[in-house]
Structure formats: C-alpha cells, structure tokens
Symmetry: C2
Subunit: 379 residues, 2 copies
C-alpha cells in the first residue's frame, strides 16, 4: 500500500520545493529553516577541535536525520556516523556512509536481520550494547550472513539510563560477548547526558566520568579484552573531550545547536522555525502559528518554548499543538498580525524530528530543501 499513498512527507517536500529561491521573509510558515553558514561553522568548529586532539568524530545523526548533512560531516573528516535506529542505519548506508555505529541495543529478529544485512553489504558496523541478549541475536544473524560487526560495551557514567554501572560488570559482559560468533568487542562507550548546565559543574563531573572509563579500560586490558575505542561525549561537554580518555566523540546537537545547549551563544544556532503572528485578540499577547507539533514540547530548565530572535522581551511561555502564546506585555513595539518571527527551538533534535524537510537558507534566500529522510521510522 505504501507506494500508492501520497504521504504528508510527499506533500511537505512538494510545498517546500516551491519555496526555493524565495527570500526568507516570504516563505510559507510555520517552517524549519537552517542557516547554511552557521551550520557549516558549527560542523567545522568541532571537526577542527577533534582534529587538533587526535579524537575521532562520530556525529550522532539523530539531530538532523539528513543524508545531506551526514555526508557533509563525513567530508569534513568524521570517522563514521552514529544512529539510534536500524532504519536510520539503512538510510545512511544508502546515502553512502561506510562506517556506522548503532548506539542503541537492538532487540528483535527483524532488526538483527536488517543490521546483519547492512554489515554483509559492506558497512563497517559497530553496535553498543549493555546486555548479552541483543548481541546474541545480532551475532546469530551476522553468522548466517557470513558477516561480522564490532561491539562496544556501554557504561552508565551518571545518567542512569542504560549501561553497565561498574567496571567489573562491564568486564563480565565483555567476556560473555567475546564468546559470541561473528562479533568482536573493541571497546566501551558512554553517554554523559547528565552533564548539562553550569560549565564548571560539567568540568567537575567530566573527571568522574573519565575515572570509570579508565578503570573499565584497564580492566578490559588486564583481561585481554580489546579496548581500542572509547566512545563518549555529548554536545554540552564536547570541548572537554581531550581532557578524558574518550577517543571517539558522538556529539549530535552541535550541528544545529538550540536554546538548551547553546548557552550564551544563541546566535550560533543554525536551526530556526519561521512563524507568522496569527492573532492578537487577547490583550498583551500575540499568538504564532507554531506549537508542539512544529517546535516540539521538549522543555527548557528556565521554562518557555523557544527564543524569539530579535525580541528578547517576548516570552513564548505556552504552546498548544498549533499555537504559540507570546507574552508581549513588556514590549513598547509589538509584532502585528501577519508579521513573521524566527524562533530558536528548545531542542533541535525533537524539533527536526517533526519535519520532513528543512529550508536551507543562505544570505536570506532559500537555497534548497534538506530532506529529513530518516525521520519517523519504526526502529
């Protein structure tokens, strides 16, 4: 049935294609736009940093879900691409990526089969796991295909989400994994997602993260388990990576940045949502045509649902599905019905996941459409 259905994605990409060549001020709203110069600067800045420190960059594609941007990251020098879903691995394989890290425990016969096929077709596949079962299923599928993959053992370094919580437990898992066919344990991984907010606190906590990583690395080495790859990092902690033993950085949000992670560098955010004021009927307030289905309802520690560029006193305090409520009571001059505004969303990854395409803008004009080809997808 899928081939005959005209999907929302088809319609959206058709409509976005009509915007190419328009000045940004004339685009249909609400729409997500990417400033190509800011994107390129963000990509280049982190690549330059890792190059200077001998760290490999394996960007997490969850932020952009776009082959165009993933391939650009590889061109700039990324060692490989990171994904969370089997379907994302397939999208980036088809786009031409030859080294893919699935940083998510895959579970299910279909997923194991699909991942094994990717490996059999020549992708250097790595999968991070924190238990035996997903790896055992994958290993069996790989063996059937005559293919191999490498494994990282995931450690919980403080987020308390996934990952073995001690070096001893990680080692025990690595030893079990080493008994499986068709896979090779080659290192460890972590996601320090608890490192957010105050830069000084992040720096202090990075030390603790590093201690567990080193302890585990040493335990692996002492037991004859390879630990060539130590995968870690996040966008808030990315520029501290060289102070740790992490030699592969999986930052994702750095490509776009957003209201949560940009700190005092909001002007570096490459992703914005262009909206139109559609109502001013309630005193002291305007309403814009973007809400949770356009911006994401992912929140911000300080509240609010996005930063309105150029209107620091305008507070986007509440969103419904298609409405953004902006308190403009403190403003001397106020946007009027029909005016266009730009919003920097709280969370780039959640926002992009709502959109099938992004308008790529250079010098204020829509240059082309960036297809978000890996959005949606059953895992």
């Amino acid at each position: 049935m899928s081939t005959s259905i005209r999907t929302g994605a088809d319609r959206t990409l058709e409509l976005l294609a009509l915007q190419v060549g328009r000045p940004l001020s004339e685009v249909e709203t609400p729409v997500a736009v990417v400033d190509l110069d800011l994107l390129e600067a963000n990509l280049q800045d982190l690549q330059t940093y890792v190059d200077g420190h001998g760290i490999a960059l394996w960007p997490h594609t969850k932020t952009h879900k776009s082959p165009e941007i993933g391939l650009r990251q590889l061109e700039l020098g990324a060692g490989g691409l990171t994904v969370a879903k089997t379907g994302e691995a397939e999208v980036f394989q088809e786009a031409g990526a030859s080294r893919i890290l699935v940083h998510y425990p895959p579970f299910g016969t279909d997923k194991w089969e699909r991942l094994a096929r990717i490996a059999a077709e020549g992708v250097e596949l790595t999968v991070a796991v924190d238990s035996l079962a997903p790896a055992a299923g994958l290993a069996a599928a790989l063996a059937r295909h005559g293919a191999r993959a490498t494994l990282l053992v995931e450690l919980d370094v403080g987020l308390h989400r996934t990952g073995q919580t001690t070096a001893a437990a990680a080692l025990a898992l690595a030893q079990s994994l080493s008994q499986l066919p068709a896979v090779d344990v080659v290192g460890i991984s972590c996601y320090p997602g608890h490192l957010q907010g105050d830069p000084a606190a992040i720096r202090r906590n990075v030390v603790a993260v590093d201690e567990l990583l080193r302890e585990t690395r040493d335990a692996f080495s002492a037991s004859g388990i390879r630990c060539d790859r130590i995968s870690g990092g996040s966008t808030p902690s990315r520029y501290l990576t060289h102070e740790t033993c992490v030699n592969e950085l999986r930052s994702g949000t750095y490509a776009f940045l957003d209201r949560v992670v940009s700190g005092d560098e909001l002007e570096k955010c490459a992703l914005r949502v262009v909206v139109t004021v559609v109502s001013d009927a309630v005193p002291g307030q305007i309403v814009v045509d973007a809400g949770s289905k356009t911006l994401t309802s992912d929140d911000h520690p300080d509240g609010g649902h996005g930063a309105i560029v150029g209107w620091p006193g305008a507070n986007l305090h509440t969103i419904n599905e298609e409405h953004g409520y902006v308190d403009v009571s403190s403003l001397a001059e106020r946007p009027a019905i029909g005016d266009q505004l730009q919003i920097i969303p709280n969370h780039a990854c959640g926002c992009v996941n709502l959109h099938d395409g992004l308008l790529a803008v250079r010098d204020g004009v829509v240059d082309h459409v960036i297809a978000v080809s890996a959005r949606g997808l059953v895992r």
Copy 2:
C-alpha cells in the same frame, strides 16, 4: 525533488505493511497501534450522544490525521470535519470530505489561494477567525476564484489563546467581516481548552462559557448578523454540550482518548504504543525503546509519560528521545529484556503526529495500516 526522494514516511509504511497479519505480540517496535473495536466504540458513543441531542459533530481531525478515520466519522453521521492546517484541508478534501471547517486563522497569500481553490472545487468551506486580516485575504482569493466560504467569529471563553474576549468586540469584528466579498458570517466558535481535570469544575465552568456564547449570539441577532452555527466543545467537556447553546461539537481526542483525557476510563484508550524492553542494567529500572520521538514529550498533570498497560506499579517517569525509563523497583515480578509492553500515551494527538502510520489491530492481530496522511505538513 520530492517525487524522487524515499522519505521516512515511505520507509515506515513499507515496514508497517510487513506487520499485517502478525499477532500483536510479534510486531516490530516501537510502533503505534489502534484497537479497532475501541476506536469504533469511541466514535459511536459520541455520535449517539450528539444524535440524541440534535447537535452536529464536526470531529477535529488533528487527533488522527487519517482519511480512513475521518471518513468513518462522516459515515457515522458527522456533519463535517475540522482541521487546523490548509494542508490538512487538502488531504481531507482529496479523501472526499465535502464540508470542512478550518478552525485556525489562515494568514498568507499561498494559504488563501489554496483555501479558495478548495472552495472553488466544491467543498463547503468554513473558516474561524478572530481578526479581519486573515478573512480579508481569504475573501479576496475567494472572489478571484468566484467561490464563497462561511465564517465563524472566534470567542475566547477562558483559555486566553485566540478569540475576541467580549461579545461587543466579537460583534464589531462580525460587522467588519460582513463588508467583505465572497464570505458570509454564519456564527461563532470557541475552544474551551481550559476545561480540564475535575468533572465538577468543568461543569461549573461550562456555565460561564455558555453565558458568553449566548450573550454574543444575542448581540449578533440584535444587529442582524446570522448566528446559525455555534461551534465549540472539547473532549473533556463533550458530554456537557447539550447543557449549552453549542450546536456543533469539534471534539477530536475522543476518537482515541489518552492518558490525560480518559480519566478513570483508561481501558477505553484505543491508541497504544507497543515497545520492547531493551535494558535492565541500572538497578530497579528497565528501559523501553520509546521516548519523546515516539510517545511525544507532551506532559501529564500528575507527571510521567504514559501508562503501562497491565503494570500499574511500573512508573515511566523519564523519557529521552528514544529511551523510556521505567522505575520497576516496587514490582515483585519485572519485565525482562525483550519483553513487549503497551503504553497509553499522555497525549494522543501529539503522539500520532510523530507517526506516518498506525497498525490497526483487531482481536490481537494486525488487520491493516492506517496511514497518517495529514501528519507533518507546512500549514
């Protein structure tokens, strides 16, 4: 470009098609599923209620964004369908809906042109507005097409989002709108989205909502402005509609229900997200393969991100993009890695908007795929 790109929606619908015929226990996860018997009961229950009270049902399609379900609502007796976006109006027009209410102020030459085209092609189009500018743009486009549309004047009855705040202001707007070509003011509308939570409080507040509606209706009548249609309602207040002067009910979420609006009738929720346990490495916790990109991060007044069916003591307290953290420390027996669970999401509309297709399930077997053809879409 859109015709040649294989989108996430294409991939998802292909993968979902492979699930048809499988028992629910064997589907790929994470995936959104709809119990067809529960859906049908929810649709029929509200239709029976409105039929018994001479109220017209104009279901808001934002909840399901699906032609299949919209057409079923019309078959059961709905007077028309409600949408928020121009693109949604186009999807439901193509599906065959002949009466469409755009309950959102349209702004922009493209949108006015597209809406005028829909009207020119024979759809009985109604648009709700709370200011002159969107209606003036639409009227000019309609006049160019030789088409007509009807207008509702939106009132703010307590949500303080959009809508004129007094009967006098609504009347003044109606008088201005009456000067426009190609449009006819035929009534008023409201969205009582502030009516949530305690049923007794909802009932008290419905009285206040009704007072403003009646006052405005009477002001319209006294000034010779038609007020045939009084459009209102929401899912939490839907069964109180007959106690008000509302004669058109735009409830949307009633089709699926969800954790927020179902109250103590969680078992009536037709939409569930099927997930798999992928980690138990952190003590007292399991992690499932669905987070904000699958469930939505729309919240619940009591906290938590969804109800896990059959495991009342399991608390889905935190989500990241692809991970759901479930506290299972109070459980004697715990789900294991690889086990499948069903989650009733906080907010059906936000959840469905993340999915390109839903698995329609009857008697525990996947019957077909419901395409969410109106998801995404630039307005």
